[in-house]
Symmetry: D2
Subunit: 157 residues, 4 copies
């Protein structure tokens, strides 16, 4: 994602291991009768962003899951600063703040085509072994990649 | 579902084996910026109706699936007569028209709280064995139940 | 909603003005390929709960909106304790913790049919005048109703 | 969209005025517990395709709507040939078959990354004046553009 960070975007709450993201266009289906993007869709867009970041790092989420690392959502939050509108192309930026044991902490911000900040948020993911339902440490190569910054350069540091 | 058939509702296109349905209330999330229910949600509501009909017949869909009968959607259609609105309580009626081999044909109509016809439609379901992905005949007790009308009385005949 | 509070449910974080809620059944469409309810749907279910609470209080949300009080979501959070499963009937309880100025703070907990706690969360709603887009104080009769507890009795106090 | 037509794709049922489309990647949220894309999402993807076609023609749907041409869905159908899977990048092709009066008929086919045909379908759109709710003839420049083929070349003729 080439979007430069607009001046209106807040800093991440901690120094990120890595950042990335994607763009999404707000679909008609994603709007509601108030004429704006329905708030719960934010978490779908957050997922699009972290999925693309993992893909760029060489760990497509589908492959992780099929290899026995299921990432489940343990907690989420979002703060809505300004509405998103139909057909707007949104930059969904994400920053992996922590990757320890079976846990991944990610922050997000959504920036509108006008550069204004629309939404910020966070997710905590817990890694499970789908065969047992038990927590499972994140794959070592992924953690190493995140820690060494050997993935795409972290734009925000 | 106790709703009597309003005069505006069309007849089913064939004599149904059995009818039933449920009610759904249009959620905020299901509206779009045109101020009405987004059209694709119709198929979610159709599924609610057939799920409740199967439950009433004593064949909860979850149990069918967990016993090795996966019903997959082979074809759908819908015709939108009038919009559905936020917070309206809709009667979603369904009629099983045919149950043969691995195939189930169902028709639907959605009636608004004012008795007006909103949507009509149909689905064709194909039954699969999830273990093999191959077509599998519908469970014999279900077919028998549909044919004998030993389920809830078919209101429409 | 008649569900008594299961012992596993945590207390609200503050003494609620009023509590209420509804039940929802997890739809097939709401599941994902991990076999559980997709996490973002939680916020749709939270909205179902607060909508029913407002309806019971005599302030159907549709009427509020059409009378010029648009409730927009300012912030949300959720914590996922255990997965919700297809076809489960969930009790979605909500508690209005604060109603001041243009702001409504609500907490939620989702309880499974086995009485176990599945999800907790919160939303902060801001009231706008849809004509101007400016904040607007909550309707006085609604605030009075919440403060006096003249609505349905708060079960949790 | 650069995808060449795979040999498995059926012909359109009539000679199209114009063709186009887009690609979508199947989101986790769009899968269901059967492990495949939930069938109703097909109509969201169809809408993505026609939206991009209109944009390429110089008639972004958002502008049409804001200028007083609301396209409402009058009828839809789909036939599911093979499942779509999580994270697959799908080519969603569409062909405008007819544009007359207030009516637009469009056909679709969804092709998987392996070139196999997944879904075919159709929508009939009716154009309304949102101010009156009455049918309104499609914008003359759009009809002219469709008829003259002055848009992007129709690949399929």
């Amino acid at each position: 994602m080439a979007a430069s960070r607009p001046s209106s975007a807040p800093d991440w709450t901690a120094s990120p291991l890595l950042t990335g993201g994607t763009t999404v266009r707000v679909r008609y289906e994603e709007t509601d009768r108030a004429g704006v993007g329905y708030h719960a869709n934010t978490f779908v867009w957050f997922e699009c962003a972290r999925t693309e970041l993992l893909r760029e790092l060489g760990f497509p989420y589908r492959e992780l899951e099929e290899s026995g690392w299921l990432l489940t959502v343990a907690a989420v939050s979002a703060r809505y600063h300004r509405s998103v509108l139909y057909d707007e192309e949104l930059a969904v930026e994400c920053a992996i703040l922590r990757a320890e044991g079976a846990r991944l902490e990610i922050e997000y911000r959504i920036i509108g085509p006008d550069g204004s900040l629309r939404t910020t948020g966070s997710t905590t993911l817990g890694c499970l072994d789908p065969a047992t339902g038990r927590p499972r440490r994140l794959p070592a190569p992924l953690v190493e990649c995140l820690r060494s910054g050997s993935g795409p350069p972290a734009e925000e540091q």
